[in-house]
């Protein structure tokens, strides 16, 4: 028997180790509660050292795409999702802290994280990343040193560097389907300045949230996700 539930495909952000989607439990839980079948993929699983642009990583994912009713992406995963819009043309799209285009400030901050990882200093890379994902005005958590992990460093450096010169404006503006950007109001990384949206798209600033609005304001994010799903999906 075929599964008739709408299929939500989620592209994960840069994670040092794949966590099977736990990072996004707020979002996936809301989508499942709505009636979606949710697949979360490790965006970096297809990363190759030769890749320098998000579009390359997106192209490697394209042949693996099955039918998608809702395309979701977070951070790098959101950039990959945006790069896939012209080919995949999903019925609806949700992007969480997903940069459409980088500016100098964003590129510098991501470079710092990437460079530390490239040098093999995973602890410092994660500590800086921890600060950057914390909302402005909020004390960042203290990061304990972690053991060296070559693979984690490769994922962070390679993943972050794909975003340094990203510009997916054209792909987003030409997307005719419904699209919702969720972005933290107090994010130190991706802000509304890094988004593009057509007139029929939505940009939702999550009050008080940083780069991870799904963690900072889960109820707010869940409300908007549920509303968006009701408006655009048939459970």
């Amino acid at each position: 028997m075929t599964d008739s539930r709408p299929h939500a495909l989620v592209f994960a952000p840069v994670l040092p180790q794949w966590d099977e989607g736990r990072f996004f439990a707020t979002v996936t839980g809301a989508l499942e509660a709505f009636g979606c079948r949710v697949t979360v993929v490790d965006t970096l699983a297809l990363l190759e050292d030769s890749m320098t642009e998000v579009s390359q990583l997106a192209r490697s994912w394209l042949p693996r795409m099955s039918e998608v009713d809702l395309l979701v992406g977070n951070a790098l995963g959101g950039a990959v999702a945006q790069a896939l819009l012209p080919d995949l043309r999903p019925p609806a799209t949700v992007l969480v802290s997903a940069p459409t285009r980088a500016d100098r400030v964003l590129a510098e901050r991501l470079s710092t994280v990437a460079d530390l990882a490239a040098e093999g200093d995973l602890s410092r890379s994660l500590a800086v990343l921890g600060e950057l994902v914390t909302a402005e005005g909020v004390e960042p958590p203290v990061h304990q040193p972690v053991p060296a992990d070559e693979q984690a460093c490769r994922r962070i450096a390679g993943g972050m560097r794909l975003l340094l010169e990203v510009d997916l404006t054209e792909q987003v503006l030409s997307y005719e389907g419904p699209l919702m950007h969720l972005v933290g109001e107090r994010s130190r990384l991706v802000t509304t300045a890094h988004l593009a949206a057509a007139a029929h798209h939505e940009v939702v600033e999550v009050p008080g949230a940083g780069m991870r609005p799904h963690s900072d304001r889960p109820e707010f994010v869940t409300d908007h996700l549920t509303r968006f799903a009701k408006e655009n999906l048939t459970p």
Partner: protein, 310 residues
């Protein structure tokens, strides 16, 4: 209080644009309507309105393919149509059900309810949730309302609707009728309001206070004449008094979309319709009261109403 809300925009609003909503708009409208919290979307007349009109648009015909398209979009459990029994034949109700409609509303003229009640019986046999709409209810004596409502209940209807086709009801009258019908039928009571006098909201509140549990409204009030109970105001009201299943944001988004997509949806209160509502005259009398001088319109309407009363 558990209210059942029907969005009648695509059907009643069709009087404004010759029922010419395009399918893409209808799909989106229906989806957003359900997302905003409507239980049912009345998507069309089946085979035409009260008076035959040539070249009816999509939502005046209610074809099977249209029903199927909307049912695919929002699920059959949200799809309803309305019909005048004289417009359909024995094959229509089964075909509508097969296509994906689950609610049918049967317009019942009080003067000759027999054929309509046969339609109600058939609709129940087919498996529909059935509403009976007592049209032009403001012109009916209370005894007649009771008689037809009871007969409709005996025929198996789930809901008896007070259809204020003339937009003439006052809140106290609405409450009396709702109480009356509620006392003689085992099922539910609903209100289909028109806003000729700007009283649709007050009448809706009065009806609910008197026990009505089904309510029609249309986005931007888009409906015949001055339109219906304004959906976004009604949903805002329900949300304000504690309804937890409505999404006002989606509701307003839909209102904005309708306004941008369908120019005929712009709210209006034509003065002749106010006169018709005030004197409890049907829209068919519009020509009889038409006059460039509104004083003459009122005079003519008063004379017509007096003649009817006499």
């Amino acid at each position: 209080m558990s209210l059942v809300n029907i969005d009648v925009t695509l059907r009643d609003g069709g009087y404004r644009n010759r029922f010419e909503f395009d399918l893409d708009y209808a799909r989106t409208h229906a989806r957003l309507s359900v997302a905003a919290g409507f239980d049912w979307v009345e998507i069309a007349y089946r085979k035409g309105s009260f008076k035959p009109v040539a070249d009816l648009g999509l939502t005046g015909r209610g074809d099977d393919s249209y029903i199927a398209a909307i049912a695919e979009e929002i699920g059959p459990e949200h799809v309803g149509l309305i019909l005048h029994p004289r417009n359909i034949d024995a094959g229509d109700l089964p075909a509508m059900h097969r296509a994906g409609a689950r609610l049918v509303r049967v317009c019942v003229p009080a003067g000759d309810p027999g054929p309509a009640l046969d339609t109600v019986r058939q609709a129940k046999e087919v498996g529909f949730t059935v509403c009976v709409n007592l049209t032009r209810v403001s012109q009916l004596p209370a005894r007649k309302v009771v008689e037809v409502a009871a007969a409709a209940a005996d025929a198996g209807t789930d809901v008896v609707y007070l259809a204020d086709s003339n937009g003439s009801l006052l809140p106290a009258h609405t409450a009396r009728l709702a109480t009356l019908v509620k006392s003689v039928v085992p099922g539910e009571v609903g209100l289909h309001a028109h806003n000729n006098l700007g009283l649709a909201m007050s009448n809706a509140m009065a009806a609910v206070d008197a026990g009505a549990t089904w309510m029609d409204s249309s986005v931007l009030g888009m409906g015949k004449g001055p339109g219906n109970l304004v959906a976004e105001q009604w949903i805002a009201y329900l949300d304000r008094i504690g309804g937890d299943r409505y999404d006002l944001g989606t509701m307003l988004h839909l209102a904005d979309l309708l306004g941008r997509s369908v120019p005929e949806s712009a709210p209006s209160l034509p003065l002749p319709d106010l006169v018709l509502g005030h004197f409890d005259l049907s829209v068919e009398e519009r020509g009889s009261i038409a006059h460039s001088d509104h004083r003459q319109s009122v005079h003519a309407a008063r004379a017509l109403a007096g003649a009817a009363a006499g």
